[in-house]
């Protein structure tokens, strides 16, 4: 992104990159030429997974907090929809009106996420991953054990979106557009928030929490607020996900799914809100078509290897690969500019190698 646009705080129409317009047109026109399977199982599903991964990207990319509890927040929202709204299992299902159910579910997920944040922000770095993973696993075991609220091993089925304005929202095309609007809205919101005062202080806290504390910023509050916002994103996606599947069970919040979200975010790239969606598309395509390449049973091995390769060779994910290719082309055209651009892009890896250097010096 252009640095000037990044800090000016506003964008006019002429500033929008043509690639964005092309992508937007493609996404809007997508249902007109794709089959129902591609609209629903590939398109809408990628958008939902991408939105959950976006909430992780926001925390990890701007806040430096890799939380594995994002899918758990989404699962929390899904469970709340099934518990507060209606389901066909006969456990809970309080039958609240749909709008109240959705709002409470999303808010519940956000509060849950803020709570996770409040627990984990007292420690830093690698501890965050451990604590959030522990919370995610504990949540999985809890919903599996608890039959009174969460209906244990079976979970809930028959969770459906409302029929509004004469449209049944689980039909492929309406559901696709619903997911697209929500995903697009959140991408814009995250991008906008990253340039707001809050977003900038969050990024500053990521880079140097001690200095920000010394400057008088409330570091903890910023971090918990970031968790709250990411919980809003994850929760909304969780509502969509439970409508998409029509059901939710402990398997939907299991460790493998939690890790899948991390895989999606890392493979896509954590430096830009678009990254998670790239990762989600790659993931969903692989999940659906890996059967043609290898035994379907071994899907996790393929995913694991892809993840390992990305972590080992391109820490910035698919976006990083793209940026590298682009800068190489530019490098060919005008040497200096490309080189300076690269160093800017690789801030994180440069910083980590700096760390190693200082350690060695000590």
């Amino acid at each position: 992104m252009d640095t000037r646009a990044l800090f000016s705080g506003s964008t006019s129409l002429s500033n929008i990159h043509p690639a964005i317009i092309v992508t937007a047109v493609f996404l809007l026109a997508y249902p007109s030429f794709a089959s129902d399977f591609f609209i629903f199982q590939i398109g809408a599903y990628s958008l939902i997974l991408g939105t959950i991964a976006l909430s992780l990207m926001m925390l990890a990319g701007y806040g430096g907090m890799v939380s594995l509890a994002q899918l758990t927040a989404a699962g929390m929202a899904g469970y709340l929809v099934a518990i507060l709204g209606e389901n066909s299992v006969g456990v809970m299902g309080l039958g609240w009106p749909w709008w109240l159910t959705v709002v409470s579910a999303v808010l519940g997920a956000a509060i849950f996420s803020a709570f996770v944040g409040a627990i984990s922000v007292r420690t830093e770095g690698i501890y965050t991953i451990m604590i959030t993973l522990a919370i995610a696993v504990a949540f999985f075991y809890f919903v599996r054990q608890n039959y009174v609220l969460f209906n244990g091993f079976t979970g809930f089925a028959g969770v459906e979106p409302p029929t509004l304005f004469g449209v049944y929202w689980r039909d492929p095309t309406p559901f696709y557009y619903l997911s697209l609007v929500i995903a697009g809205g959140f991408v814009w919101a995250v991008f906008y928030a990253s340039r707001s005062t809050f977003g900038l202080s969050l990024q500053a806290i990521r880079d140097n929490p001690r200095r920000m504390r010394a400057l008088g910023y409330n570091v903890t509050l910023h971090r918990v607020a970031a968790y709250f916002f990411s919980g809003l994103i994850a929760g909304t996606a969780g509502v969509l996900l439970v409508w998409f599947n029509g059901r939710i069970s402990p398997g939907s919040v299991g460790v493998d799914v939690v890790i899948d979200i991390l895989v999606i975010a890392v493979v896509g790239g954590m430096r830009h809100p678009v990254g998670p969606f790239l990762g989600a598309i790659a993931f969903v395509l692989l999940e659906n078509f890996a059967i043609d390449l290898i035994d379907r049973e071994r899907f996790n091995t393929v995913i694991g290897i892809a993840f390992l390769l990305v972590v080992l060779f391109s820490p910035d994910g698919l976006l990083g690969i793209w940026n590298r290719i682009r800068s190489k082309i530019r490098f060919g055209r005008s040497g200096q500019q490309g080189a300076s651009r690269r160093t800017g892009d690789d801030r994180q890896s440069a910083e980590s190698s700096d760390n190693v250097k200082t350690q060695e010096e000590v």
């Binding site: 420690t123 504990a138 054990q145 608890n146 996790n300 091995t301 995913i303 694991g304 390992l308 972590v311």
Partner: protein, 336 residues
């Protein structure tokens, strides 16, 4: 210890009183009102013993995890996979040779070797970048879990331990006195007690190794200041490889011990990973004594939760973690 009593006299007193009450509840014959309140004494004592032995098992798994972190700042999220792989390898060897102890030894060695390979081939290349190391271990655990599922399928396996470890023994704890005046003693499986014994032995062994040997001294020095240790002429990479071998080997060792006490099935890796995580978060990362305290706490919490509030058992474990994080973010024994 004395330091703790001097600084927190009140808490030391509370701990002392609760330990005394606990001991009384185990050895005394329960009066009627207590039985009315908590149910039969047999349940309580067995839950307690289950908790302690499970704590022993958790300690075996978590001590390796915490040891590796203490020295290398490396959170090995593939530790659960190592546990499960050790259990499977031990099972195969024990079945083929008919010797359970051979299975135990091979599991330890095989997983230790895999740990050294991981350290040499992967972690050495990305030293100091702990987030990336952690992500790599996640990738490895995904692949390992899938390949283990492919090799050993979803079946549950059960070890056959040596004969003399089979069956139950009578403990010198009276459960009730019958109306005829004869005392009924509590029986408990021998193998479970063995687990506890092994855990204590390993714990003591680790303590002696770390505090009384030259290599242990190097490791402790490495925990405090890695660069200084390297500067004083020690081959740090060799020490790293050794510690990783011990840590991973302990996971494989625990796999056979735990697989015999309970059973081996896919999904156990996640369970023991969660246990190690919570144990070291509660006990303090990098501290072996913290791992012992954390394991005991979590083992007891899990078993008492299971026995007394079945559907909310996990919440108890979780609450312990939250309270510890709120009061002492670095863990009970963690110093920073």
């Amino acid at each position: 210890m004395r330091n703790f009593v001097e600084r927190h006299t009140f808490w030391a007193f509370v701990i002392l009183v609760s330990v005394a009450v606990f001991l009384w509840m185990i050895f005394a014959i329960w009066p009627e009102w207590l039985i009315d309140g908590l149910g039969r004494k047999k349940t309580f004592v067995k839950t307690f013993l289950n908790g302690v032995t499970l704590g022993g098992l958790y300690f075996l798994v978590a001590s390796g995890f915490t040891l590796v972190f203490g020295l290398m700042r490396n959170v090995n999220l593939a530790h659960g996979s190592m546990y499960l792989l050790g259990a499977y390898i031990g099972y195969e060897v024990a079945e083929l040779s008919g010797n359970w102890f051979l299975g135990l030894a091979i599991a330890f060695l095989a997983i230790a070797a895999s740990g050294v390979l991981l350290q040499v081939l992967v972690f050495r290349r990305m030293e100091g970048d702990d987030l990336r190391q952690t992500l790599v271990t996640i990738g490895i655990s995904i692949i390992a879990a899938d390949l283990m599922l492919a090799t050993w399928t979803g079946t549950t396996y059960q070890f056959t331990p040596p004969d003399w470890l089979y069956g139950a023994t009578q403990l010198p704890i009276i459960s009730v006195i019958k109306s005829s005046g004869t005392a009924v003693y509590i029986k408990y499986p021998v193998y479970r007690l063995m687990v506890l014994l092994v855990a204590i032995t390993v714990g003591l062994g680790l303590w002696l190794f770390l505090n009384r040997t030259k290599i242990g001294m190097m490791i402790r020095a490495g925990v405090n200041d890695r660069e200084m240790l390297a500067a004083s002429g020690v081959n740090v990479q060799l020490v790293f490889a050794l510690v990783f071998a011990i840590g991973a080997g302990l996971a494989g060792f625990a796999g056979v011990i735990g697989g015999t006490a309970l059973s081996i099935a896919p999904g156990e890796d996640v369970r023991y990973l969660l246990a190690s995580l919570v144990v070291v978060i509660v006990g303090g990362l990098g501290s072996v004594s913290g791992a012992a305290i954390g394991a005991l706490l979590i083992g007891l919490a899990e078993q008492f939760g299971l026995a007394y509030f079945p559907t909310y058992g996990v919440v108890l474990t979780f609450l312990i973690m939250v309270v510890v994080l709120a009061v002492r973010p670095q863990g009970l024994m963690g110093g920073r």
